[in-house]
Amino acid sequence: MASLFEYAPAPESRSVVDIAPSYGLFIDGEFTDAADGKVFKTVSPSSEEVLSEVAQAGAADVDRAVKAARKAFEKWSALPGSERAKYLFRIARIIQERSRELAVLETLDNGKPIKETRDADLPLVAAHFFYYAGWADKLDHAGYGPNPRPLGVAGQVIPWNFPLLMLAWKIAPALATGNTVVLKPAETTPLSALFFADICRQAGLPKGVVNILTGYGDAGAALVEHPDVNKVAFTGSTAVGKAIARSIAGTDKKVTLELGGKGANIVFDDAPIDQAVEGIVNGIFFNQGQVCCAGSRLLVQESIHDELLDSLKRRLSTLRLGDPLDKNTDIGAINSAEQLARITALADTGEAEGAERWSPACELPSAGYWFAPTLFSNVTQAHTVARDEIFGPVLSVLTFRTPDEAVAKANNSQYGLSAGIWTEKGSRILAVANQLRAGVVWANTFNKFDPTSPFGGYKESGFGREGGRHGLEGYLDV
């Protein structure tokens, strides 16, 4: 970093967001305490400051919320699609109006840089509601036959890596198709969902159509297993995804699962190198690598390995880690102490197994949960860091010699969520993309998202698609 030209801190103002000292569960249009009165604290991962205290839902609260959603379903599903659409358009607009507030809130509660919440998360959240709003009165034309019916009550459990965006991916298609919702945000990032509850109230959404239960995994399990839930949507770890798949066996519940990944980012020797370097960085360091579709395995053609690694190291040295509210921050905080411990343990395993570890000179703040951008070279398919999802800013670099070998290595994983291809040769893009067993393939780009673009995995990365016309299917009785 140039000493002559240090960027002065440019923090986004916290004053745009007013966080209350405590929040209740949002059930049937009202904020309410948990039946047993339990609460838990949510902290800012960049400072460990307690942001608020929120109600901790238990089984009784799940039951209450499902009942509210069931009651609301009758009228909501009978509403003309054009009316449901207008509610969703209202929500989309209010999100746009409050986007700076929500971006700051999300950065505080999650630890990701304001640059990302401002430029990626929030615009995508609003766009998702806009997109599905338009579907609500056009379902007859969606390719699922005439008058496709909603399923009923959707139980939705979302992760902490994109709290509000995952909420949008779940709630927008559910409401557009006429379902009602009980959603549980992750315990480390409950706040944006609670602010969303307020947005539902501002939009005049009928009571009980959206219910938000903050809490831990037990509440999520109770929701998934509740007998009056018709649809289960989950984004999170593959282990929990498998448990959910088992728990709903033999029921009529429809399920979609968006789970883990170990995305291969394949760089051929004729790649646009400077853009590939950016794509690699974006692929693994976006959101501190806490992204299920992260390009965490770099497969680089052996002939350009050294050159690419040099470029990559040079580029990593310019990444700015620190205060997530600083507009110049590239790398924010890890979401929780637990996640930090997991990343640390896996990185240590990589080192112990003989992979070569490298990080740029990088000062970590004293408070909060931080992990320096890390690169492992001399990694083989047998290394733990090439196989296990780390869910952190850790890139494993492997090599290949031929396109066949690249594809074979890329596919050699129990996961199949994402992959990247970097080459200037168009026919090679198409040939390789054809062979990759992954739900999303980025050619000469990475980590791009759009509400019209279906997202979801092959193999143990889950099933069902979110986004686009495909995203309707999981919420319709078809």
């Binding site: 140039a2 002559l4 030209f5 430029d119 646009p272 950016e278």
Partner: protein, 320 residues
């Protein structure tokens, strides 16, 4: 670090060898390049860094007038402004150079009166470059003889687009030789590609390498006379080229975006590009310039705002 071009000696032995080399350079993905340039444009520069950036930008300006209507009076006014950009604040740095047509070099030189502001002259049948080689060389020698410290030449875009890369290379080499003064010193050579006419990013990267191999001291985006001039993306691409060239040869080459940079905000975005792509080695007017005219007044107004706390207005900077 090697400081030699010998590794590339084979590259310029024939048209076909040069073509093979240029077409073997990594391709450029337009969307990715533009996205990176745009993302660097969101960097937020504040307080002390901003004051530093404004002064740096002022000191990097080649204050330019390249009009058919240029007169000695106009050039003298410009020169005075280059030496003393803000009469109300003598701490304001001088610009790097004034940039004029060859016939105005002597006027500018005299007007600058020994101040540490260079005289840059466009040459080689600027801006179109459509003239015979002897004319271009005479144009260059004329400017050098009149006292030009720097020569801003244009490449023959026609030759480049027709695939005559070696001819393009030889032209630059010839002009480079024409920059040598009788005492053996030489004017610094800036090579203008007219990126707007080269059209593709791949062409800009190839032209950059031709220029660097032929001995350019600076590579420069444009003449300011066509629709698309300097952009964050084409400047980023050229910065990547000089970065790669230095890594492979040890030879450092300057970059000059020109045309279309009018505001302080724009200029700071370009400085961020420099800082993040090639680092502080390039953060001086020896290695980075802005070809601009109206930019200076905007920088001066921002500078006044920083020192007084009030927003300035156009009546508080000089019109030249």
């Amino acid at each position: 670090m090697p400081t030699t071009l010998t590794a590339f000696a084979d590259v310029t032995t024939s048209d076909s060898a040069l073509r093979r080399f240029l077409h073997g350079l990594p391709g450029v993905d337009a969307v990715g390049l533009e996205a990176r340039a745009a993302s660097l444009g969101t960097r937020s520069i504040k307080t002390t860094a901003k004051a530093y950036a404004i002064d740096l930008a002022i000191s990097m300006i080649d204050l330019t007038t390249l009009e058919g209507a240029d007169t000695p009076g106009k050039v003298r006014a410009l020169s005075a402004k280059a030496v003393n950009p803000d009469p109300t604040d003598r701490t304001t740095p001088m610009t790097a150079a004034v940039c004029v047509y060859p016939d105005m070099v002597a006027t500018a030189k005299a007007a600058l009166n020994g101040a540490d502001v260079k005289v840059a002259s466009v040459a080689t049948a600027f801006p179109a470059g459509r003239a015979a080689l002897p004319v271009k060389l005479a144009d260059t020698r004329d400017a050098v003889a009149a006292g030009a410290d720097e020569i801003d030449m244009v490449i023959d875009r026609g030759a480049f687009l027709a695939g005559r890369y070696l001819e393009t290379y030889e032209l630059i080499k010839a002009v480079k030789e024409a920059c040598v003064r009788p005492d053996g010193s030489a004017a610094r050579l800036k090579v203008i590609f007219e990126t707007g006419e080269l059209s593709t990013y791949d062409n800009i990267r190839r032209a950059s390498w031709i220029g660097m191999l032929a001995g350019a001291d600076f590579i420069k985006t444009s003449t300011g006379k066509v629709g698309v001039n300097a952009t964050p993306a084409n400047t980023l691409l050229m910065l990547e080229a000089v970065r790669d060239f230095k890594a492979q040869t040890g030879i450092q080459i300057g970059v000059k975006p020109a045309g279309g940079i009018r505001t302080t905000k724009d200029a700071i975005k370009f400085l961020v590009l420099v800082n993040e792509t090639v680092g502080e080695d390039w953060l001086s007017n020896t290695w980075f310039r802005f070809g601009a005219s109206s930019l200076l007044n905007d920088l001066l107004m921002q500078r006044q705002k920083l020192s007084t706390g009030r927003y300035s207005g156009p009546d508080y900077v000089t019109v030249d």
